[in-house]
């Protein structure tokens, strides 16, 4: 991928990611999140991870975002009014986030490997679904089954939570 496309999608992802936390309307936040996820999927594909990119679009931009929009619709949330803002807490949050960003910059700038280009792949086409599938079912078979149990437990938990009435 050309550097222009990389910076285009990275900027798209960051701008719409910032839109998620800036917007007061939850529906607008959710739609910003969709665009951010789609740009992130493009970045995954620029790294030759086509399977992960497709999974990102299917699971996040498809399933998770529909879940978010459905819950926003169910709760009938409107744009938040201007509440009194706790300035000390907000300033603290911004300072911690900026300190984290500065740390990331300093670590990456001292990391010598970070200045290298990505090494070329052997072939022009890569069979990554095949390779990930083999690895998943051979080397990571037990974690794969455990993740199935996790999803099952989450499903049961959601059913229990949504039927029981909290007082």
């Amino acid at each position: 991928m050309s550097p222009f496309l990389f910076w285009f999608f990275a900027l798209l992802m960051l701008v719409f990611g910032a839109g998620v936390i800036i917007n007061r309307n939850p529906v607008a936040s959710a739609l910003n999140l969709v665009v951010s996820f789609l740009a992130l999927a493009a970045l995954f594909m620029s790294l030759d991870a086509y399977f992960i990119g497709i999974i990102q679009i299917l699971v996040y931009a498809g399933a998770v975002m529909v879940l978010f929009l459905f819950i926003i619709m169910l709760l009938d949330l409107h744009a938040e009014g201007l509440r009194r803002i706790n300035w000390i807490a907000s300033a603290g949050g911004i300072v911690v986030a900026l300190a984290f960003l500065i740390q990331i910059f300093s670590v990456v700038s001292r990391f010598k490997l970070a200045r290298q280009n990505f090494p070329p792949l052997a072939g022009s086409t890569i069979d990554d679904v095949h390779n990930i599938g083999r690895l998943l079912f051979a080397s990571y078979n037990l974690p794969f089954q455990i993740i199935g149990v996790v999803v099952l437990v989450a499903t049961i938990g959601v059913v229990v939570l949504s039927t029981r009435e909290l007082r």
Partner: protein, 107 residues
């Protein structure tokens, strides 16, 4: 082609946006969205390292990281389902999604 550092910086910036969202916003739904942003930032750096570590014998990326990303996406989907179910249960009990209105640990 961009360097590994570009991807790591972009990933760190996305993580910072998600982190700031968790710290600054007071709506549970938005906090869950910001959590998703943070998980995705971690996924981006994992995939970048996967592409960077090309296996010299076969010339393919290191797929272990991509399998890890697959697991992360699955756990994130489960987490968001449970989180939203808790948000709905809280909304039915308290008619609010603001974290400041939900300060009791025990119902």
């Amino acid at each position: 082609m961009n360097t590994l550092g570009d991807y790591l910086i972009v990933s760190g910036m996305l993580f910072t946006i998600g982190f700031a969202g968790v710290m600054l916003r007071r709506n549970i739904i938005i906090i869950l969205m910001a959590l998703e942003l943070m998980l995705n930032a971690a996924n981006l750096s994992l995939v970048a390292f996967s592409r960077f570590h090309v296996d010299p014998a076969s010339g393919t990326p290191n797929y272990n990281a991509q399998v890890f990303v697959f697991f992360t996406i699955t756990v994130a989907a489960a987490e968001v389902a449970v989180g939203l179910a808790i948000a709905v249960a809280l909304y039915r009990a308290r008619q609010t999604t603001h974290v400041e209105d939900i300060s009791n640990l025990k119902f």
